[in-house]
Amino acid sequence: MKASSKGSFLKVAFSVSLLGFVGFAVTGYVGTAASAAAAPAAKEAATKKEAPKLDPKDPGSVIYLDTSGKPAGVGDPNRPPSFAYTKGHGWHPQALTGSNLPKDKFGLIDWARSVRENRIAPKPSLDPNDDEMPPLKMDVLIPTKSDFVDDVIYPHEMHTFWLKCEVCHPNIFIPQKGANNMTMVDITNGKFCGRCHNKIAFPLADCKRCHVSPKNASK
């Protein structure tokens, strides 16, 4: 029984290595094919270890797991992503870990920097007929209510790179200067910027990414 199962396993390993050989030959890497054939033991170990489930109907499928092997996205949705990350939740999808994208001080991926440094070029829409508007190059100075805290410079450009105007206007922000009575208290309670930041966008605790323009009137 044992011997036969072992034999079948070897067969599988052999066929896998053969597959590898064919694959390499097809892609033109003939030189590495020899090493692939020479290390069937390693292949065997690899097939033993991995066996990732790819069936989208299976909730244990690798596409639903974060990098720590737990199901992704089952944390408290009211908590900032930085909290989930410190509590041991890993990356989702898993491919992001090896992506080498720039990260912010919380270890979360800095998507804005990824765009600015041309590391990524996302498609404008899943719908090929959708017309893409170029980003709106318009910075808005939002003075803080406090006498001390640096003013905010809001970049339309980075936001309209990802989003359409209707996502924010006029439901979240009235498109008129001074018409939105924002406070940090409201924002941390999930209004205005807090509709996205602290949730899908970078956490509000990263103060200096928005509060960038020093107040000259006060010291």
């Binding site: 803080t144 006498d147 805290v149 406070t183 208290v185 941390t188 509000l204 509060h211």
Partner: protein, 113 residues
């Protein structure tokens, strides 16, 4: 008898500094109250006692905070820049709650409108 006396002396010797230094309690920070009102928050009640339980005096004084009333010009601006409460190992790190938890420090936190 003598033994217990020695123990008492050692005990008082150990407790004295704790009593002298540790009875500070809460400190009300409201010298920038006008600015705070504009931002929709009230004065900060700093729980010195809570911090005493976790840290030694020397971890904050005098490097981060001068141990004198009114000697520290702390503001949210400086906290964000990594000074005072927002020092890199404190409320600007994963060790303590982040600076965007307004109501954890400020009293009378109210949403505008």
């Amino acid at each position: 008898m003598a033994k217990s006396n020695i123990a008492a002396v050692i005990l008082t010797g150990l407790l004295m500094p704790a009593v002298a230094m540790g009875a500070i309690g809460n400190i009300r920070l409201d010298d920038k109250i006008a600015s705070m009102r504009k931002a929709g928050v009230g004065p900060v009640i700093f729980p010195h006692g809570k911090h005493e339980k976790i840290y030694k005096c020397g971890e904050c004084h005098p490097k981060i905070f001068k141990d004198k009333h009114g000697a520290n010009d702390s503001s949210m601006k400086y906290n964000m820049e990594g000074r005072f409460c927002g020092s890199p190992n404190c409320h600007n790190s994963m060790k303590a709650f982040p600076l965007d938890r307004c109501a954890n420090c400020h009293t009378n936190v109210r949403a505008a409108k």
